[in-house]
């Protein structure tokens, strides 16, 4: 038996335990503790000022008969699929395009990442201007002869949700691209050499080398996408506030308006619990499987 097999984990050193427990305690105090309060609040009726009154599962029962909740839930699923799917595909595509170090690639990467860093206040304003009835989009459509496609993009209940999707993606793709870039950097170039020696085309190289190697990054990207889709609150809120009359309502905007406009913090907390369960359900199944495969 090699000496190297000497137990490297006989006892967990206190330093190691501290490495785990300190962050855990910090997160526990600032996130889990308030979260528990939030979960408790979901069982109450509270207006933010007087004492909360316990209503059991009344809030959750109300959701079933709430039309707006149904709309918001459906919109959220659509958002998850479109926003999530397109940002993953787009981010990967952009990363593949810009992964090789060549002249100008730094500029291109920075250009695509700039929307991520730019403050939302100004960019949401500009996107509203772009979508105005006489704004850039409609004028462009008229110029290329598609005048019949013109809409009041943000005011038309049929198009509002999809219209808001575009600036949301615009802000997200650079970020997903960065994650995939870091992942692509981590792929051993020798694997590509070996594949090229075997005569693999670039598509085969992608399928057999790139994609499997990206598995770690993919789980990160998936979590990011799910988290961001479900928290995609600020873009939608600043552009339409969930309107017109709830046609671009997501669960996150509905939760916010319930908490801070209608001042029904109990019901809002219940909505937050639903969002959390949704996110948890999507992520956990994938992650547990990914973890198990790696062990």
């Amino acid at each position: 038996m090699a000496v190297l097999a000497a137990p490297r984990r006989r006892r967990f050193s206190p330093v190691l335990l501290a490495f785990v427990l300190v962050p855990l305690v910090v997160e526990g105090f600032w996130v889990f503790w308030p979260a528990l309060q939030g979960f408790y609040l979901s069982l109450t009726d509270w207006d933010g000022v007087s004492a909360p009154s316990f209503v059991g599962f009344g809030n959750f029962a109300e959701m079933f008969s709430d039309d707006i909740f149904g709309t918001a839930a459906l919109d959220t699923v659509i958002w998850l699929v479109l926003f999530g799917g397109l940002s993953a595909l787009g981010g990967l595509g952009l990363a593949l395009l810009l992964q090789r170090e060549r002249r100008g690639v730094g500029f291109y990467r920075a250009a695509l990442f700039t929307p991520v860093v730019f403050s939302l206040v100004a960019t949401s304003l500009i996107w509203q201007v772009i979508y105005q009835p006489d704004g850039v989009v409609n004028r462009l459509l008229a110029a290329i002869g598609l005048g019949s496609w013109q809409h009041a993009w943000l005011a038309d209940p049929k198009t509002a949700l999809y219209a808001v999707l575009v600036p949301a993606l615009w802000r997200q793709l650079g970020y997903v691209m960065v994650l995939y870039l870091a992942g692509l950097k981590g792929i051993d170039p020798a694997l590509y050499e070996a594949a090229k020696l075997d005569g693999a085309t670039s598509r085969q190289q992608f399928r057999n080398v790139t994609w499997p190697q990206l598995r770690g990054v993919n789980s990160v990207v998936l979590s990011v996408i799910v988290i961001d889709s479900l928290r995609s609150f600020d873009v939608v809120w600043s552009m339409t506030k969930g309107g017109p009359y709830h046609s671009s309502e997501l669960l996150s905007t509905y939760m916010y308006s319930t908490a801070f406009q209608s001042l029904r913090l109990g019901y809002a907390s219940a909505l937050a619990v639903v969002i959390f369960l949704l996110a948890f359900g999507v992520i956990v199944t994938y992650l547990v499987r990914a973890f198990r495969e790696d062990q």
Binding site: V117, S119, A122, A268, I283
Partner: protein, 293 residues
């Protein structure tokens, strides 16, 4: 996993790519990438043009019109009314400690959870990540009350601590993903040399995680700098407001000076863009996880 260098291997197959085709592919790349970049930057350009217009121009001709004026007054106004240097300082006072602290703590947790067989490590990682699945809006009120209980309400310390706490789950998750793929041999070698847990962390694993830390650091900087919700929840007084909520304060109750707000956004974007450009080099450093010199 074999150790390889990034020394270019000798060509085993003679290159027969004709020169013109290679140049065309280069042009094609630049067209596509360049076109995308221009498309992406278009809204930002619109913000820039708005920031150099005068209020009268925007009020008379609308935001979407071609500029009829050139006025740099918006920048001065944004700087002065938006809190100026004080707000920028507040932003940096919050963002830099947050990024450093959050990455340090999460790297430590990621290191311990990915390289040692701590019981329930997978559960712990998932639980930490679960903390980020909660919509932050619902945590606002309990966290505000918590900061009041601790007596740090309306201070920058509160914002730092809250941001660190809230980011830990995600950063740990990302970092443990990268750290997991570092080969065992290096750690074993260090152990034989008698290195302790902390030394292995500081001297070996952390430097090897540099690209991930750089990418995550740039992102963390951006998120913390651009954060709005936490800032307006735990801070109340103008003088401690960082740049991003101060920018929001430039909006009036009914009417806003869009040129001033656009100018303020440009000013506020400078630190985050600068940080990204600086850290971008680390992606290009060539030190990739999985292929170690």
């Amino acid at each position: 996993m074999t150790l390889t260098t990034t020394r270019p291997s000798p060509p085993l197959v003679p290159r027969r790519v004709p020169a013109p085709r290679r140049r065309n592919r280069g042009i094609g790349f630049h067209l596509v990438a360049g076109g995308l970049s221009v498309l992406w930057l278009l809204p930002i350009l619109l913000v820039l043009t708005t920031s150099i217009r005068s209020f009268e121009d925007i009020a008379s001709n609308g935001l979407g019109s071609v500029p009829h004026s050139f006025a740099l007054g918006g920048f001065g106004q944004a700087w002065g009314e938006g809190g100026g240097g004080r707000a920028m300082l507040n932003s940096l006072l919050v963002t830099i400690p947050t990024v450093v602290l959050a990455l340090l703590l999460s790297a430590a947790a990621a290191y311990a959870l990915s390289r040692y067989a701590i019981p329930f490590r997978r559960t712990i990682i998932l639980v930490m990540l679960a903390g980020n699945l909660l919509p932050p809006q619902i945590l606002l009120v309990p966290v505000a009350k918590l900061t009041e209980l601790l007596g740090i309400y309306d201070t920058l310390t509160a914002l730092v601590v809250v941001q660190v706490g809230f980011g830990l789950g995600f950063y740990t998750f990302v970092l443990q993903g990268f750290m997991r793929s570092i080969p065992d041999e290096i750690q074993q070698a260090a152990l034989i040399d008698g290195a302790g847990v902390a030394q292995i962390f500081w001297r070996i694993i952390l430097p090897m995680t540099r690209p991930a830390l750089a990418a995550l650091g740039a992102l963390a900087f951006t998120w913390t700098f651009n954060d709005l919700l936490w800032a307006i929840t735990v801070l109340r007084t103008e003088t401690v407001m960082p740049v991003t909520p101060a920018l929001l304060g430039l909006q009036g109750q009914y009417v806003s000076n869009w040129n001033v707000i656009a100018a303020g956004s440009v000013i506020a974007a400078i630190p985050t863009v600068a940080v990204f450009l600086r850290f971008q080099k680390h992606f290009i450093s060539g030190l990739a996880i999985g292929a170690i010199k």
